[in-house]
């Protein structure tokens, strides 16, 4: 399985490459990609440098142009696709049928991957993107159980990539508007979820911390409790008088245990989430996953996730806890 790692800037890219990524995915500096954060992503010039660094070390570069193209700004998405093609990247990761159609027609030799934002969870959807745009690979949303992934892999017309580690989206990607409902910006329209510009950290009289998005209280931390970023689906809310993480707790996906299963069902690539993360984070996660995948390759029958890998990844996880997410039925 190919190890696909994130890079939000050049140092992270080097870190991913140096620690054993097979492929690195990046985005340009605008709302054409789903990690449109201030100070993040690549200018054309930086992308050329990134490509050279990766190529020299036999690592593939994938470019995400994976938001939904807004009609009043369509040319921006065209330009991003053209730039990716001119750079000669190994694949373009896109979700919008308009964008995929443009890429397929204008740059027929460009490899297309369906982004997780394309929300393809079933056979018909995969057939749709394959037949209409010739996609070579699809990234599956984090809503399928392991059994459902296996059933899909069995008949998929294209390679499948699944999420292996990182912040956990609990909603079907490409179909979550919670962020625009509260802040006006969503992954689909602006490439942002719970955007930093809407965040307010507010010390409470009791020495704790309130975290807000567009003024709405997302979580309230007691003194001494570590305050986390106010991602909408991971806040503590009032439901029927009970204050709890009604949707999900701060936690990260970790599937080191699933490597043999995913490999046996023919999954082509595992993806690490986190283009917004630091070079140190990207390097460490990549290192652990490289070691695990190599370990599995050498002796598939005796593979077992090592404690030291689990604890290294645990330290890098949201709320220092990890989950198998939707892959495991009880989580659902």
């Amino acid at each position: 399985m190919e190890l696909v790692c994130p890079a939000g800037n050049y140092p992270s890219l080097k870190s991913a490459v140096d620690n054993g990524a097979d492929a690195v995915y990046i985005g340009f500096r605008d709302e054409t990609n789903a990690r449109h954060f201030a100070g993040l992503n690549f200018s054309d010039k930086r992308a050329v440098k990134a490509l050279e660094y990766a190529r020299d070390r036999n690592v593939r570069i994938l470019v995400a142009v994976n938001t939904y193209a807004q009609a009043d700004n369509w040319s921006k998405w065209e330009r991003a696709v053209d730039t990716a093609s001119d750079l000669g990247v190994d694949a373009l990761i896109a979700a919008d049928p308009g964008v995929l159609g443009y890429a397929a027609e204008k740059h027929p030799s460009l490899n297309l991957h369906l982004s997780v934002q394309g929300s393809a969870t079933n056979q018909g959807s995969l057939d749709f993107y394959h037949q209409n745009f010739g996609i070579k690979r699809a990234v599956l949303p984090r809503v399928l159980s392991l059994k459902q992934v296996a059933a899909l892999a069995d008949k998929s017309p294209v390679e499948l990539e699944v999420f292996a580690f990182g912040s956990l989206c609990i909603m079907a990607e490409g179909r979550c508007l919670l962020s625009s409902y509260i802040t006006g910006e969503s992954p689909n329209t602006a490439g942002a979820c719970s955007p930093a510009s809407a965040v307010r950290w507010q010390e409470t009289a009791a020495g704790g911390m309130d975290t807000r998005l567009s003024g709405k209280l997302i979580d309230r931390f007691k003194a001494g409790e570590q305050a986390g970023y106010p991602t909408l689906c991971k806040g503590r809310f009032d439901v029927e008088g009970e204050i709890d993480h009604a949707l999900e707790e701060p936690t990260s996906l970790n599937t080191l245990d699933l490597i043999p299963g995913l490999s046996a069902m023919g999954i082509s690539a595992v993806k690490i989430e986190g283009r917004q993360r630091s070079p140190a984070y990207v390097g460490e996660v990549t290192r652990v996953w490289r070691e695990a995948l190599d370990h599995y390759k050498q002796s598939p029958s005796s593979y077992q996730a090592k404690d030291q890998w689990m604890s290294a990844l645990g330290k890098l996880s949201e709320g220092s806890q990890t989950t198998l997410g939707a892959y495991s039925r009880p989580w659902q």
Partner: protein
Amino acid sequence: MQTTLGPLLYFWSKNDVFEFYEQVAESGFDRVCLGEVTCGKRRELKLADWLELAKRLQDKGKNVILSTMTLLESQSDYSQLKKVCGNEEFLVEANDMGAVQELSSRGLDFITGPSVNIYNAYTLKHLQKLGLKRWVMPVELSAEKLKAILAQAEALGIKEQLETEVFSYGYMPLAYSARCFTARVNKLNKDACEFTCLKTPEGIPLATQEGEKLFTINGIQTMSGQCMNLLDQWWMMEDMGVSSMRFSAHSKDVFTALDGLLTELDQEKPGSGIKIDDQCNGYWFGRTGLEMEQV
């Protein structure tokens, strides 16, 4: 301007569903979408029951559409989708690209619901070639964005071949998950959920710790905490070329809202305003979804 009643998003008992649609049959809706679109485990009505309802409504002069599931996960979800797409009698509303594939590969015309991501006219053009006749705009888009999409559609020469519908009244579906939040709130496992969502026919409100309502929990779906109300925007929609307004029912209040709109349409008197409690319209004005812009 036509009116469409979207599919029922909540889980109601079979009796309640039949009783509700009896009232729909006598209402002023032009078009009615039927079928389970939220959770594959909700089987109070089987496809045969929905088809029976469809025929009854058609006999009463309604234009009937079958809606498909939005988040398709299991093989059985997908077999059900195939059955709906192959019904051979009623037009189908696709709520996932899987349904678009099933319908277009059978050479059937289709429409798309609000969860199919159409954010530009290049996407529209592609789907139109495959058989798209009418589309419902994603709920998060504004009037300005819609104008841009329709201008683009005109430039691509497809505007006249497509009808546009806007979600105008009701709690908006905002997100879909593998996890059932209704089961979670009730400390149940999804696989042994006891169909607990039957007990909350309008979903469960989720508020901040300061008591501000944000969302509504409805099984695997997270909905808006406020009820979308764009009814006073019909004249603007008409100017833009929108051909129908979609209502989504959380209760029988939907009939009051419909009657209010029909009266306004009848009297050609825009903007007298049909006010309801706890409403929002922010998306339409390019703001956050939960805001209420006073017009």
